[in-house]
Symmetry: C2
Subunit: 244 residues, 2 copies
Amino acid sequence: MNRLNPHISVDCVIFGFDGLQLKVLLNERELLPDEDSSILSDLLKLPGSLISDTEELDISAYRVLKELTGLDKIFLKQFAVFGSPNRLQNTNDVEWLRKTSGMSIERVVTIAYYSLVKINESNPNESLLEKTSWIPLNEVPQLIFDHNIIVNSALEALRKEMRTDPIGFELLPKKFTLRQLQNLYEVIMGNKLDNRNFRKRIVKLNYLVPLSEKEKGVSHKPAQLYKFDKKTFLRERKDIGFVI
Amino acid sequence: MNRLNPHISVDCVIFGFDGLQLKVLLNERELLPDEDSSILSDLLKLPGSLISDTEELDISAYRVLKELTGLDKIFLKQFAVFGSPNRLQNTNDVEWLRKTSGMSIERVVTIAYYSLVKINESNPNESLLEKTSWIPLNEVPQLIFDHNIIVNSALEALRKEMRTDPIGFELLPKKFTLRQLQNLYEVIMGNKLDNRNFRKRIVKLNYLVPLSEKEKGVSHKPAQLYKFDKKTFLRERKDIGFVI
């Protein structure tokens, strides 16, 4: 990789869904030689990187994702920029950044992405696995820099996008139950949905295809599996038009 | 103003509407001492600036807007980042940037904003007026750097936002006719709307308030004027929900 740019980074809010909870992938900040490993659990951060000077921004973000999830064809969306001159306020954090990058860092503008991952298909790099964890969104602790603000802002951007695009399917396994689908929408939107209305709405959709398979390995009565037929969705997609 | 950051700029796509056409505010690039003024008309650009090292990104964008339109409380939205290592390819453009900034510039990541302005209320700084012009969107010539791409991307972002938010009113005078409103939506969406359906839809909206005034100074039969009642809109706003 080429020379790093001391002023510009990418940070990725990687969302995953395990059927019940919406989670976000966080890493431990690398320790400096003179730091004690007992502080590590207090030093969680979003996966990110300063950009290389010859790298497209999106490529920098895909690089971070590939390193951490082992996946390279996943949903990635640039949603905001965080560039306050005060965002690197904690002197410990800044010292860490200076030492790990080997550069004098005064201000870093970060381009923020969110990514949607099927947790069961992600396959983190072995060496990183122990430093990386999926944390339920409502249990995210204090992160370094302004990373908590970035996580919250990513959730808002995801919600907004779901008003017009059914990107939730990126978070589900290829075959899923209607219960999983409803759970997903409930955790993202942050409120309970009426079961009957949800089912009624679902059965009208030609692009939600019931399969001849059922759930396996569950203790309750196995539920019907469905898949999302993207081609049908794109063909039938209604023009949402505009609000006046 | 403080030291400029050689790596990060803001660029603003300032949209205006004159009742018939959607326009964008462009400036002439400043001439270098050894350049002939005959080339100026070929050197149009988006209003923008390298950021100052102590300035919030949004403040940089507002500074550019204030300098060029005289307005300081206008709609501004950060919508994308353009950071390809190849975006400053034209050697003349790069040389200009280097000379006017007095810095060695290798790569500039630009944070792009679009802004919505009531043309009749904008009041450009006198000294800039002769270097600035409102150009109809479908007549925008070749701009410097990747600024044509940024303009097109801003229009897409504006269209997308109008699927869920009625921000078009930011472009209209406070009192407007239904014809102006329909013209606005037609030029932004890029297609004709059926007059009867549009009127039918409009009369149902409690937040579009007919005034006791009519148009003045027109040769045709003066039309009724309306205003947008934002408070009523926000109170009655329907939850658009989500697509599955």
